[in-house]
Symmetry: C2
Subunit: 187 residues, 2 copies
């Protein structure tokens, strides 16, 4: 009777990677099985709801990762400028300098949009809320802060997409570099 080889969270991380790379439709159980080292039946033991349940769990898990590795600087005490710098640094690491897709975008455009709309919407909202609150800390009026924050989230998504399209990671890096200054601009 074989013991579990890797932790559930490690399994989820590997599944996340498959979803991120291949999209929801493209993430076949064969790929997932290979990436996790678990047979099909084992996967269904851990996720009775099949692929869709995996998807929901992946969103939960990536929420934790985002929070720990990307969003934490936005919650830190410190000058807004410094917060934003740390945030973009975290983003750069999280997205492999522009080489990695964002799970959100991938899910939206590869068949997971309806299934995971709740998770997707709430993740975007969280991002915008948090970023916006940092801008308000910097005395930017509420409405302007929200508009800028929402816009920045879109820019990041677009930059990741176009980086891939142009096969030029420098594109993403450039956008990231400019972000803090623009978000805090007085104009």
């Amino acid at each position: 009777m074989p013991a579990p080889k890797i932790s559930r969270e490690e399994v989820l991380d590997r599944i996340t990677e498959i979803f991120r790379q291949y999209g929801y439709e493209g993430a076949s159980l064969s790929l997932i099985s290979k990436a996790t080292g678990l047979g099909r039946a084992s996967l269904y033991h851990h996720f009775p709801g099949g692929k869709e349940e995996m998807g929901h769990e992946v969103f939960r898990r990536i929420g934790e990762h985002l929070d720990r590795n990307v969003l934490s600087p936005l919650r830190a005490k410190g000058s807004p400028k410094k917060c934003l710098k740390n945030w973009t640094q975290g983003l750069n690491l999280f997205y492999g300098g522009g080489s990695k897709n964002c799970l959100l975008g991938t899910m939206i455009l590869s068949g997971g949009s309806d299934r995971f709309s709740k998770e997707i919407t709430s993740t975007f909202r969280t991002l915008i809320d948090l970023l916006s609150s940092v801008l308000e800390e910097a005395k930017i009026p509420h409405n302007l802060a929200r508009r800028r924050a929402a816009r920045a989230i879109g820019e990041i998504q677009g930059a990741l997409l176009v980086s891939r399209g142009l096969e030029d990671e420098g594109y993403f890096q450039q956008i990231l570099e400019d972000l803090p200054g623009e978000l805090l601009s007085v104009k």
Copy 2:
């Protein structure tokens, strides 16, 4: 012996719609068959290379559409401001006010990235080149013009993505409205 029911270009337009909505992996031949009214075998008669050939033809076709319905204002004689306004108006129509995905983004994130990388790259380059040339017409220095143009293309892609994510088309409209002014800003 049944005669062809719709023109090849009409067939391609309907296939385009399926790719756009469901992504490359999600666009099954069943869906395509239903959308075009052609049986599986008929589809292979028109596209012996199967789904991948359909994809290449779809890119050719959408290139024509883009050119005619979106990019033409950028080539028109007239003030840059007016050109850009017409361009964003065309974009708004083309993307259904933010309700429609962009085929480029969808293909990138749903399994078509490797297969169609040539088409994707060249389309993005064309967009940036053309937009950039309008900005130079407005006396914006070459390098700045290129950076702004590239950034704007990313913003549009991001706006389409986030609009879907937030289920708020207003987001896309807002970005579009602000674009001309920002592209031509003197700051």
